[in-house]
Structures are given as structure tokens and as C-alpha cells.
């Protein structure tokens, strides 16, 4: 079970005009674990996550989600949290929840309302009146309320105040079901997030520079993931 892979990536290349975003990546994301995808801006984190979510078409190579190529089936099994604020500004949180419920068959409304309360958010509040931290909490709520085996989060902590960051990580860990779910999360906030990671994948300039079990890396190098990454980077 622990050897099972949720996502397998083979020789994945993604080129944009004039940019090699991913240079022949080979990596597995273990099932039932939380993997932190870390790396500086422009390292290809977002492109990698989007190719797993089936939102970006690879230039070459292969992505398998539970053994299948991205498509209708895998999209239904994957919850993707985008970095941008993708909500209609005029909607209330409750209306967004209604929309999600109508869009996704595996959306658990009851659970959404519970997480919302845990996140200190009122369903009547309108998206346009929310701070960036609050929007971040809404995004987490909607993602974790989907009963899916694979959850992908693109920078859920980026540009968010420290208190909301702590709430998001706490909500994530308390809602996470290790027996049924795999989480892949990209972030710059290594120091805050690293204690929640089982696995770490460090990406730089479209290449994987480091990967492994977080606690094993700490034991091996006698330093935090944050410091280890700095060392590899420099």
C-alpha cells in the first residue's frame, strides 16, 4: 500500500514559446501521503501541478494518475486549488458552495459548511468583501470538501497573512484522510509548512534537485528542509 504511487511522471517535458518550463522530469508522488512541492518562482511547480490536474498538455512525456492518463475520469478524482482567485466577485460564499455542489458529484456540502465554520467564515459574506487570507480559506474549504483521492494545491499560502496561513495548514491537516487521500501542495513557505510534509520534491529551473521522505532527509542531513533546500539551491 505504501509503495503505491498516486501520480507517476515519466520524462515530462513542457515548453512554452522561448521557455523550457519542465526539462524531462521523472518523479513519483506516493499515495496516502502529503508531498510538498517546493522551489523558487519560475521553477515549474505550477506547470507540473497543472499537468497532473490535466489543465496543461505536456510537450512530451507521460503523467499517470492512479495508473491512468489525465482525462475525464482522473479530473473527477482530482481536486485542484488554483493560485489565483477564480471566484465571481459578486457571489456570496454560500452561492459559491451551491455552484461547486452543482458542478462536482463528489462535493460534500455538509463537510463544506463544517470546514467553513472551522475557518471562521460566514456563508453570507461576499467574495468581493473578503481579504486575501479569507479567500485563501474559502479555497481550502472548497477543495477539502470534495471527497476525492487526489488533492492538488497550487500555492495555497502565497500572499496570505500569517494567521490565515496557520489556519489553512491546520484545516488541511485536520480534514486530511490519510487512508483515502493524497495531497500534493506547492509552496514558498517551507518553514511553516514543512512539518506537515511526508515527502518533499524540490524543483529548480524545471529540474528536480532533491526528493525524499521529509523525516529521513532531516535525519540524514541534521537540518530542516528549509535549510537543506537553501543549501542545495546555493
Amino acid at each position: 500500500m505504501s509503495k503505491m504511487q498516486a501520480v507517476e511522471i515519466r520524462n515530462l517535458v513542457k515548453n512554452y514559446p522561448g521557455v523550457e518550463a519542465l526539462k524531462s522530469i521523472n518523479v513519483n508522488f506516493p499515495a496516502g501521503k502529503i508531498t510538498g512541492l517546493i522551489g523558487p518562482n519560475g521553477s515549474g511547480k505550477s506547470t507540473m501541478l497543472k499537468s497532473i490536474a490535466g489543465l496543461v498538455q505536456p510537450s512530451s512525456g507521460e503523467v499517470l494518475i492512479f495508473g491512468e492518463r489525465p482525462g475525464r475520469k482522473t479530473k473527477n478524482e482530482t481536486a485542484f486549488l488554483p493560485e489565483i482567485n477564480h471566484f465571481y466577485k459578486g457571489m456570496s460564499i454560500k452561492q459559491v458552495i451551491n455552484l461547486y455542489e452543482s458542478q462536482f458529484s463528489n462535493f460534500n456540502r455538509e463537510r463544506a459548511m463544517e470546514i467553513l465554520e472551522f475557518m471562521n467564515l460566514k456563508p453570507e459574506a461576499r467574495i468581493k468583501n473578503l481579504s486575501k487570507g479569507m479567500v485563501g480559506r474559502v479555497k481550502l474549504t472548497l477543495t477539502m470538501a470534495r471527497e476525492v483521492p487526489l488533492i492538488i494545491m497550487d500555492e495555497p499560502l502565497s500572499g496570505i497573512d500569517p494567521k490565515s496561513r496557520a489556519q489553512i495548514l491546520e484545516g488541511l491537516i485536520s480534514e486530511y484522510d490519510a487512508e483515502k487521500q493524497t495531497i500534493i501542495l506547492s509552496t514558498h513557505e517551507v518553514l511553516e509548512a514543512e512539518k506537515f510534509f511526508d515527502y518533499v520534491v524540490f524543483l529548480e529551473k524545471g529540474e528536480i534537485k532533491l526528493q525524499g521522505n521529509a523525516d529521513d532527509l532531516r535525519a540524514e542531513h541534521g537540518m530542516s528542509i528549509q535549510d537543506l533546500v537553501k543549501e542545495v539551491f546555493e
Binding site: G32, K33, I34, E170, I173, S174, Y176, A178, L191, E194, K195, F196, F197, D198, A214, D215, D216, R218, A219, G222, M223, S224, I225, Q226, D227
Partner: protein
């Protein structure tokens, strides 16, 4: 709760140390049931997989046993408290000695240093009574 992790060391080992300290302080006793992995994960705000690894490791160390469908229990071993306490004391002393040796202290100097510090501490405490 109230657990501050040191990011430079494996977190599962810090959870084991946390539980060992509870045993030494008598907050957990031989034969006691440990909180479920999920409960503890929520309680100390840690990835449930890390708790699972800590429990698995404690089983290998023969500190705990898992009873099918019932949960994880501390072994019924009366010597456990003494053994853990001695082990933790030995670790603390080993670390201390390493540090002192790296500062260039000899064995005798270390002994003198300790006994001076102990008598200073004693005086301080007695001074408070006056």
C-alpha cells in the same frame, strides 16, 4: 498541544520523545491506552502519517503493542519507566559531554565544572529561603 517541533530533527522521533517524557513523568503508565493516531494528530496538529510512523517505531522498540481493533497500549512492563528514564538521561549526558569536549574541556575539568555549578545552584536556592 504545546508541542514545538524542532525542524532540524525527524518529527516522528520528537513524538516518541514526547510520549517517553509523559511515561517518565507518570502521565502515562504501563498498560495505559495511547490516544488513537487520528486523535493525537488533531491534538498536536501533526500529519497523521507521522504519528503512524512514531507508533510503528515504538512497536519496534517494544514500548507499545497494538491490539487488533482496540488500539495501541503501553506494554505492561514495570521496568519501563526506569529504563526510559535512564536512556533519556544517558542521551542528555552524551549530548552534554560532546558539547563540553568540543569546547576543549577534559574529563576532570568537566567534573569540577559540574560540581561548582551544582553548589552554586544549591546556594542560590538556600539564599531564597533567607
Amino acid at each position: 498541544m504545546g508541542l514545538n517541533f524542532d525542524a532540524t530533527k525527524p518529527i516522528y522521533e520528537q513524538i516518541i520523545d514526547h510520549i517517553k517524557k509523559m511515561i517518565v513523568r507518570g502521565e502515562l503508565q504501563p498498560g495505559d491506552k495511547l490516544p488513537s493516531q487520528r486523535e493525537l494528530a488533531k491534538d498536536i496538529n501533526v500529519n497523521p502519517n507521522t504519528i503512524q510512523r512514531a507508533y510503528r517505531e515504538m512497536e519496534l522498540l517494544e514500548l507499545v503493542e497494538t491490539r487488533r481493533g482496540m488500539g495501541t497500549y503501553l506494554k505492561e512492563d514495570e521496568n519501563m519507566v526506569i529504563t526510559i528514564r535512564n536512556d533519556m538521561a544517558r542521551d542528555a549526558v552524551t549530548n552534554f559531554l560532546q558539547e563540553m569536549v568540543s569546547l576543549g574541556y577534559t574529563g576532570e575539568e568537566i567534573l569540577v565544572f559540574i560540581s561548582n555549578e551544582l553548589s552554586n545552584k544549591k546556594e542560590e536556592e538556600e539564599g531564597h529561603d533567607v
